[in-house]
């Protein structure tokens, strides 16, 4: 039963680079969008708030699968511009998870105690200084655990790129291995699941380090944790 193990592992590993690329690309876009849209939702200008809110509700309110198929099949017809599958996937991951991340950023900024704002006003810091020097560094530390969950969801969401034929990990198993080894489904899929588990753990370790750094910069102690794995954030059950 395990004769083919090295072959299975090497075939699945061929998709590893694409899964990592899609996940990292998605993380970069999602992070940028989260910060921009999250802060825009707190803007004093109604128009900015409405635009950000519309983006967030549309991308959170529809399914990732619809978004993926839409960008891949519909957008080229409307614009005459076809994204290669990997980029279509990265775009959807970024836009979708950016919408969830925006809520995290908004929540974290709002959770910074009022006294901090008042202190800034008393010191007559400009709004930009206030954000950059005082509010964001504190909010940043609180954002990291929910972003850890979000990035793991994003990693899991990258499996969907199989649908638009990106040959990432899941595609390698489903379209390459399974067709030739129909009697070894258990082994193939257990291997795939272990690959994702390993990647999730890498994300968690990275975020834990970041969390410790951010806490140290603020002179806080890192939060005590009982479990090694990230705890679930409410309503972040996407992908």
């Amino acid at each position: 039963m395990f004769d083919n193990l090295p072959f299975f592992v090497s075939t699945i590993a061929k998709g590893l680079l694409l899964t990592v690329e899609a996940t990292l690309g998605g993380i970069v876009i999602a992070t940028v969008l989260s910060v921009v849209a999250g802060l825009a939702m707190l803007s004093p200008f109604v128009v900015v708030r409405v635009v950000a809110r519309t983006y967030v509700e549309i991308w959170r309110g529809t399914s990732e699968v619809v978004q993926l198929l839409w960008i891949y099949f519909v957008l080229p017809i409307l614009t005459g511009f076809q994204l290669v599958p990997l980029w279509a996937g990265i775009t959807v991951l970024g836009l979708n998870f950016g919408a969830y991340g925006a809520e995290i950023v908004r929540g974290a900024v709002q959770a910074v105690p009022r006294e901090q704002y008042e202190g800034c006003v008393a010191l007559s810091l400009s709004p930009v200084q206030r954000m950059r020097r005082v509010i964001l560094p504190q909010a940043f530390a609180d954002m990291i655990p929910p972003f850890n969950n979000l990035f793991i969801q994003l990693l899991k969401g990258s499996a969907l790129l199989t649908i638009i034929t990106v040959p990432e990990i899941t595609y390698q198993a489903r379209e390459v291995l399974l067709i030739r080894h129909t009697d070894q489904t258990v082994l193939i899929f257990v291997l795939v699941l272990l690959f994702y588990l390993a990647l999730s753990i890498v994300i968690t370790i990275g975020m834990r380090l970041l969390e410790r750094k951010a806490a140290a910069r603020l002179g806080r102690r890192p939060a005590e944790r009982t479990a090694f794995f990230a705890k679930v954030g409410q309503g972040s059950g996407v992908a």
């Binding site: 990732e64 699968v65 839409w70 059950g237 996407v238």
Partner: protein
């Protein structure tokens, strides 16, 4: 570009989308029920007296949560028939959704149970209620109402993930839209309508859950 939106075609795909919607709702409702029940079982097992049971359930929960639902669906779809269990694709999908989300609802129940004040346990003890009665008459009736909004959130998430079932040949809203699109080579109208349908259903539901949260919810 000489493309334009064709209203006649758009209306003509509505019946197929409607059939897909029925499947989506079936998957969401039964998947949620399974997740609610199994999640509670997992939450209780994680409080088991036996170290081994606690550890196995914990590892299972973390494993399922760290890996993609899509791969889990493939796993069930291809592995179950191999071990002699033949289920319809929809039922396989419901089991996949239910199991995956049970690992999330287990956390929700855990938070709800831990939120019940210690005095309630002590009072049950003082009245020498048996363990079963303590749970069914004292702890759970207080814990469950407070976790309902969080459970609702997961149902909405699940609703948005049911289109994954199209990969195991279940024709939900998106599966139906995709099929109509492939047979007529016009994807714009069906896929756009599918997206709008999702938005129309999930946005009001999430407003409702937010309202529930404000009224009954606990921060968890």
């Amino acid at each position: 570009m000489n493309w334009s939106w064709d209203w006649n075609y758009a209306w003509s795909v509505l019946p197929s989308l409607g059939e897909g919607l029925v499947v989506t709702i079936q998957a969401t409702v039964f998947g949620s029920l399974l997740a609610y029940v199994l999640g509670l079982v997992f939450a209780l097992l994680r409080r088991s007296r036996f170290w081994l049971v606690r550890t196995i359930v914990w590892l299972f929960i973390e494993f399922v949560r760290s890996t993609p639902l899509l791969v889990q669906l493939f796993f069930l779809f291809f592995v179950l028939p191999d071990i002699g269990i033949r289920l319809s694709p929809l039922l396989t999908g419901v089991i996949g959704l239910g199991l995956h989300y049970a690992t999330y609802t287990a956390e929700v129940y855990r938070a709800g149970i831990e939120g019940v004040p210690k005095g309630q346990w002590e009072a049950a003890r003082a009245l020498s209620l048996p363990a079963g009665r303590t749970w069914t008459a004292v702890i759970l009736p207080q814990a469950i109402p407070r976790v309902l909004p969080a459970l609702g959130n997961y149902t909405i998430s699940m609703f948005k993930e049911t289109p994954l079932l199209l990969t195991i040949s279940v024709l939900d809203i998106v599966g139906a839209a995709y099929e109509v699109g492939s047979s007529s080579f016009r994807f714009v109208e069906p896929l756009t309508m599918a997206g709008i349908l999702f938005l129309l259903l999930s946005y009001p539901s999430s407003l409702f859950v937010r309202w529930l949260e404000r009224r009954f919810g606990i921060a968890h």
